[in-house]
Symmetry: C2
Subunit: 285 residues, 2 copies
């Protein structure tokens, strides 16, 4: 497994692979890898001959008051996991390599980033789109995999790729859960034992809604309101949002829909903000 620290080496590596007729798959991460990330590597292997994982805790997607400095890191553990997954190269650029002094270019995706996480984290997706665009220029992948856990992020990247005509195919990776249903996230490491126990309310509430719909219930805002009420029964849960949105363009749904929709939630437990979401497919849709 090759460890690569500069953009120039990364591009040369990728071009050499493609010159040999190999397809390059890419999984961008912020490290502290868990089974969710590794599942994305497996998806990448299904679409590519060589898989590159980047590990870069991207400062531009954190607001000043957010958890950049305490974001969990475990480079040695990450590399061992990548090796075990058959990853061909890990790209670990230092911050100065990605954002040298004087850097001032940003990529924004507008409508899609206004609601949900964009509302309370107004510069977050600008940072994500900027770093993903930069990483695509350096890694030059044929295929890149983004997890459905960060569903809004996936949609933003798909839009970015379409609008800016990146020659990259985006493949979604299904959300991976712990045995108790909690969506896998590096930030789960922050949770106390009690917070972790109560965090199961997210998936339980979302699965309840999904099962209701599967049993014939309408997909409408009342459903999201009930999900919210269920989550709020957990004493440590502070709801940031519980939103019913169109599954494709993320517009908030204010009445019943017959099209695929999604309930997306962001909920704080102590200082830790967790995301989860589930697709709702109305009967006959």
């Amino acid at each position: 497994m090759d460890l690569i620290h500069t953009g120039a080496e990364m591009r040369a590596w990728s071009r050499a692979a493609r010159a040999r007729g190999e397809r390059v798959g890419f999984v961008p991460t912020m490290g502290y890898l868990h089974e969710g990330h590794l599942s994305l590597c497996r998806v990448a292997h299904e679409h590519a001959d060589r898989v590159v994982v980047s590990i870069f805790v991207n400062p531009t997607q954190f607001a000043p008051a957010e958890d950049l400095s305490r974001y969990p890191r475990d480079e040695e553990g990450d590399l061992a996991k990548c090796r075990a997954e058959g990853v061909a190269a890990v790209f670990l650029p230092p911050v100065e390599e990605m954002y040298p002094p004087g850097s001032q270019t940003f990529v924004t995706v507008e409508e899609l980033t206004r609601g949900l996480c964009g509302e309370n984290r107004p510069t977050h997706f600008r940072g994500v789109a900027t770093v993903v665009s930069l990483l695509f220029h350096l890694v030059e992948p044929d295929v890149a995999v983004f997890g459905e856990k960060d569903y809004q992020q996936l949609k933003v990247i798909q839009r970015l790729v379409r609008d800016q005509a990146f020659p990259v195919t985006i493949v979604p990776g299904p959300l991976v859960r712990e045995p108790d249903g909690v969506a896998m996230s590096s930030r789960n490491a922050y949770l106390t034992e009690e917070e972790r126990r109560q965090a199961t309310v997210l998936s339980r509430s979302l699965f309840w809604a999904r099962d209701e719909v599967a049993a014939g219930r309408a997909v409408d805002p009342a459903l999201a309101a009930e999900v919210r009420a269920r989550i709020e029964q957990a004493p440590l849960a502070e709801v940031d949002y519980v939103s019913l949105v169109d599954d494709d363009d993320l517009t908030p749904l204010t009445e019943a829909t017959s099209r695929p929709a999604r309930i997306a939630v962001a909920v704080r437990f102590g200082r830790t903000r967790l995301l989860d979401n589930v697709q709702m497919v109305p009967m006959g849709s």
Copy 2:
């Protein structure tokens, strides 16, 4: 000469050229080509085996009140000129090909676009950076040529390429002037005979300053103030700005400098806004 209308064809053309071992040079334009554009094609030929010219009047770089709808067009004349210059392909995408419905992604370069033209045209460079980034993804050139007439634009593109690590070399093309000194511009076509005559004040004033500096005068804000006063002697000239800036990062200079600087001007004659600029190299710099 190949005429190409879709992004997919454009990319295929460029990749086929590179697969033959040819370097692709690129000159993005808004059409209505003049000797200035053609000089950029010649610069491109010095750095590439095959030259692509794009002709696309980019709506995102015009503000609502600006001259998008009346921007001059002459496709037939443009194609004849490209043919005569040995251009290998002209890329003429329709607007819907570049910005399909739902497009919402923008690229911004921040500090460099605050002053000069960015001050009165706040979304102009966002449109330029967005379309150039998109064009680079479609044309995938090895080299792209941008004229020094739009000096701030050149700097913005150089910054964009560095910050976002585009695998493209940017080559500046020297400003080309009419015999009477007026900088070549498609917008010169808007000028009345009298406006056109008075427009020579721009280059005359800038050349005066350059010659003063060559003769040993200091490069300081008083010099720009004198250029401004000279320009204002033309009754039809309405100064938008006359700025002394650092030649590299465009920061406004508020005292004498020993480094290369530039005086950049934007001046309206009637409804037509003209740009010009000249480099000032202090003695011993």
